[in-house]
C-alpha cells in the first residue's frame, strides 16, 4: 500500500502546500508539501541545513513563507506570529530549548498565557495547579518550583512539551528531540509520544536519526537542500531506504578504521576533583588514562561533569585535588598557555564561543595559539605574509571553503568553522588531541571528515580523547569507551565488545563495575 492509500481515510489536521522560503538569494524551502494527520506521528527527515527547521518555523509563525499556503483543519490560515499558531493548536519544542534559565519551571510554562487575578497580578497558585494537572495527565513529571538552570536536559525537554500542552496544543512539533537524551530517555520520550497520539494529538517529529523515525513515526517526509523529495509510509521502508533518500546516495554507517595496537600510556588523570560554577562538585575523584595510538571515547549524558573535566584538563578551570599528567609531567592547575605548550590540543565543545574569534578572519584564527612565534611574529611584530602562506596551506589541506584566508570566521558555515579549528589544532602536532562534541550540528559530509581526521591522528600514533553525547559516534570511532556518570567513571569497555543497551544503562548510573 502506498502513502496515498494509507492516508486516504485519515483526517488531515495540517496541510502545507508548496511552501517556499527565501532568505535573500538563499532558498531554504523550495515548494515543500506536508500533510499531518490526526493522532499520527509524521516525521520530517533531512540532513542538517536541509530546511526542516525553517519549514517548522513557518508553521509556527516565526517566519513568514515567501509563497505557499497553510491549511489547518481544512481552513486556510495566515500564521503571522506564534500567537496565531498557538490559537490554532500548534505547539513547538525547539531544538535549542526556548527556556528562560533563571525562571522556574512553572513560570516558563505559563509565560505568555499567565493565569492572573485582578490587575494582571500573577496567580501562581493556579499556575502550579494547572501545571500539575497536565503533568499528571500525560505522565510528564517535573518539579514546578525548580529553576530551569538547575534541572537536567531531559527534564527541560519535558518542560518544553508541557509548555505546548499547557497552551492546548493539538499538533506538536518536536525539533530534534533526542539529540541530547540518553538511550533510556529516548525510550521514555517515544513512550510519551505514543501516549500523546493516543490522546488524539498529532506529532511532527523532526530528526536525522533513522532509528527513531522507524520506531516512532507513521509517515515520513524527506527533504534535501530545501527540496521536497518524498513522503513515505514508515512501516513500508527501512533505515537504508530512508538514508539514501536523505543524502541522495548510498551511505555506509560504519567508519572505516584499521585495527591498531595501542602504545604506552601518555596521559593520565588521578583522583581528579573539580567544582562547577555553582561550587558543587562536578568531577568526583575521577581516574582516566589515554594511550598513544588510541582513541578513548568518553560517553555520558550532558551535564555529568564532561565540561568541567575538559576545562580542568585544559587549564580553564581550577582543580580542587587530584593530578593530571602528560608524558609523565604534572600539569595540574596549569594555565591554558602551559597546557598548550605541553602538546595538548583541544577541539572545544562550543566552537563559536571558545574555538574561534568570529570577528577575526580565517588566517588570524589559524594562529590563535602560535601568533607570537616565529615565523608568524618577529620581535613582537606580526608577519602577515607568513601568516597568509600558512593559512592558505591549511585551507587547501583541510578543504575549507570558501578558499579565502581573508574571510571572516563569522561568515563560514558550521562545518567549515569546525574545519578551521581542526586544521589549527591538528597542525600543532599534539601528543594528545581532545575533541569535544566535534560533530555537533554538522552535516554528514563534515562528520565523515571529522571522524577521518581523528582516526588519522590515532594512526599517527597520537592519543585522542573524544567526548561526545552521541553514543553512535563514540561507538563507531573509539577504541576504548569510558562512561561518565555524575563526575565519576562508571566503567571502561573495549569498543569491540560494547553494547548500546549496556552503555546506556551505565550512562544512566546503572553501571555495575
Amino acid at each position: 500500500m502506498g502513502y496515498e492509500e494509507v492516508t486516504q481515510s485519515l483526517g488531515k489536521v495540517v496541510e502545507m502546500k508548496n511552501i517556499t522560503k527565501k532568505f535573500g538569494d538563499f532558498v531554504a524551502n523550495d515548494s515543500v508539501n506536508l500533510d499531518v494527520f490526526k493522532g499520527k506521528v509524521h516525521a520530517l527527515l533531512g540532513e542538517n541545513g536541509a530546511g526542516k527547521s525553517t519549514l517548522m518555523n513557518i508553521l509556527y509563525g516565526l517566519y513568514s513563507p515567501t509563497s505557499g499556503e497553510i491549511l489547518i483543519n481544512g481552513k486556510k490560515v495566515d500564521i503571522t506570529n506564534p500567537n496565531v499558531a498557538i490559537e490554532h493548536g500548534i505547539g513547538m519544542v525547539h531544538q535549542h530549548f526556548m527556556l528562560v534559565k533563571p525562571f522556574t519551571v512553572a513560570q516558563n510554562i505559563i509565560l505568555g498565557r499567565e493565569p492572573t487575578s485582578k490587575m494582571s497580578v500573577l496567580n501562581m497558585k493556579k499556575a502550579l495547579k494547572d501545571v500539575k494537572e497536565i503533568s499528571d495527565r500525560y505522565g510528564l513529571y517535573v518539579d514546578p518550583n525548580a529553576k530551569i538552570e538547575d534541572i537536567s536536559v531531559g527534564m527541560q525537554q519535558r518542560v518544553e512539551i508541557l509548555k505546548a500542552l499547557y497552551r492546548g496544543a493539538e499538533i506538536l512539533i518536536l525539533d530534534e528531540p533526542t539529540a541530547v537524551l540518553t538511550p533510556q530517555e529516548i525510550v521514555e520520550l517515544i513512550q510519551i509520544i505514543k501516549n500523546l497520539t493516543k490522546e488524539g494529538k498529532s506529532i511532527i517529529l523532526i530528526s536525522h536519526k533513522l532509528k527513531e523515525i522507524i520506531e516512532a513515526a507513521d509517515f515520513c517526509l524527506i527533504i534535501r537542500r530545501g527540496k521536497h523529495i518524498d513522503t513515505v509510509v514508515v512501516s513500508e521502508t527501512d533505515e537504508e531506504g530512508l538514508a539514501s533518500k536523505m543524502v541522495g546516495r548510498e551511505v555506509s554507517f560504519s567508519v572505516a578504521k584499521e585495527e591498531k595496537e595501542a602504545g604506552d600510556e601518555i596521559f593520565s588523570i588521578e583522583g581528579l576533583v573539580v567544582k562547577d560554577n555553582r561550587d558543587i562538585i562536578a568531577v568526583d575523584k575521577l581516574n582516566l588514562s589515554v594511550k598513544k595510538g588510541e582513541i578513548l571515547g568518553l560517553a555520558g549524558i550532558d551535564g555529568n561533569g564532561q565540561t568541567e573535566l575538559l576545562e580542568a584538563i585544559t587549564g580553564l578551570r581550577k582543580v580542587e585535588s587530584g593530578k593530571i599528567k602528560i608524558n609523565g609531567e604534572d600539569i595540574t592547575n596549569s594555565t591554558p598557555f602551559q597546557v598548550i605548550s605541553k602538546k595538548i590540543s583541544h577541539i572545544p565543545e562550543d566552537r563559536q564561543k571558545r574555538g574561534l574569534v568570529l570577528d577575526f578572519d580565517i588566517s588570524e584564527n589559524t594562529i590563535l595559539e602560535n601568533y607570537y612565534k616565529n615565523p608568524f611574529a618577529k620581535r613582537g611584530v606580526l608577519q602577515y605574509d607568513n601568516i597568509k602562506v600558512y593559512a592558505k596551506e591549511l585551507i587547501d589541506k583541510f578543504d575549507v571553503r570558501p578558499k579565502e584566508e581573508t574571510k571572516m570566521a563569522r561568515n563560514l558555515s558550521g562545518g567549515n568553522q569546525q574545519k578551521v579549528i581542526i586544521a589549527r589544532e591538528v597542525s600543532n602536532d599534539p601528543d594528545l588531541l581532545i575533541a569535544a562534541q566535534p560533530t555537533r550540528g554538522l552535516d554528514v559530509g563534515a562528520i565523515e571528515f571529522v571522524h577521518k581526521s581523528l582516526i588519522e591522528q590515532r594512526d599517527n600514533n597520537k592519543a585522542v580523547f573524544l567526548i561526545s553525547f552521541e553514543l553512535d559516534e563514540i561507538m563507531n570511532v573509539s577504541d576504548r569507551i569510558a562512561v561518565i556518570y555524575e563526575g565519576k567513571i562508571v566503567g571502561i569497555v573495549d569498543a569491540k565488545d560494547a553494547e548500546v543497551e549496556k552503555l546506556g544503562l551505565m550512562m544512566a548510573g546503572g553501571g555495575n563495575e
Partner: protein, 316 residues
Amino acid sequence: MIETILNNLALILGTTLMYSTPLIYTSLGGVLSENSGVINIGLEGMMVIGAFIGAAIGYYVGNPWIAFIGAGIAGGLFGLLHAFACVTFGANQVVSGIAINFLGAGIALFLSRMFFEGATMTKSIPLDNKMPRPLNGVFPDGSFLNIIFDNQYATVYLAFFMVLLIWFFMYKTKYGLRLRSVGEHPTAADTLGINVMRIRYFAVIMSGVFAGFGGAAMSLAIVSNFRPTLISGHGFIALAAMIFGKWKPQGALLACLLFGGAQGLAVFLGQFDFEISSQLISMLPYVITIVVLIGFVGKSAAPSADGIPYEKESKY
C-alpha cells in the same frame, strides 16, 4: 550626649534620603530598560532634560505635579528616541545612549535659552509651588523623626513607593514576567507569542520617564530651579547603582542609599576641623562604593540578552 549622637544620625539619614532620591528614580529606569535587554547609558541626558522641563513647567504653570509628570514625559520622549534606535533599528545601544547624553544636555540648554531670556538657568519656583512636604511639622520639633522627615519632599516617599511598585510589577505581574523573559531570552518569549519589540519599547520609554522623574526630583524638590551643572554625573552614578544592585529594583535602592549615606557621612564629617583634607572626605562616597564592590559584591550578572538587539528573521 546620646541626644547629640541621635541628632547627628538623623541628619545623616535625612541627607541620605535627599541625596538618594533622584538616583533611585533614575536607577529604577535603568532596571526597567536593562531587564528588557536594552542597555541605557543615556540616563544622564534623560535626567538633564527631566530636570529642565520640571523646573520650566514648575515655574510657568506653578503646579509641581504637572511639572513632575511633564518631566517624566520629556524623559520618556528621549526614551522613545533610544527605543527607536535600539529596538526598531538594532542600533549599538551604548552609542545611542551616548548620543542621548549629548542631545539631552544640548536640547535642555537650548530650550532654556529660548524660554528664559537667553539664560541657561531657570527662575526659582516659590516654596508653595514646589513638591509638597507631607511630614512637615508632623513630628515634634527637634525630635529624631522630625530631623529626618520634616523637610523631605513627596518625591522621597514616592521614590520608595516606586521601588515597591516596580518590584511588584517585575516579580508579581504577568507583564513583569514577560519583561524579564524578554531580557533573558527574547527568542523564547517570541515563540510564546510575546511581542518582544513592544515590551522593549515600553521598558525603554519607561526608563526615560523614570530618569525624567529623577531629574525633576532634583530641580523640583532639592532645589527650585535648573542650572546646567545641576545634574553632573548623577545619571552615571545611578547607572552604577543599578549595576551594583545587580539589575534588581531592591538592589538598586540599596546601592543608591549606600551612595547617599556616604554623602551624608561626608557632609557630617565636613563640619569638623580635621587634620585630613576635606577633599579626602569628599572622595569618600566614591571610595566606599568601590570598596564595597570589591569586598562584598563580586561578579554581577546582567540579564542574558542585555545589550543584544533582537532581530526576528536573523540571517540563516
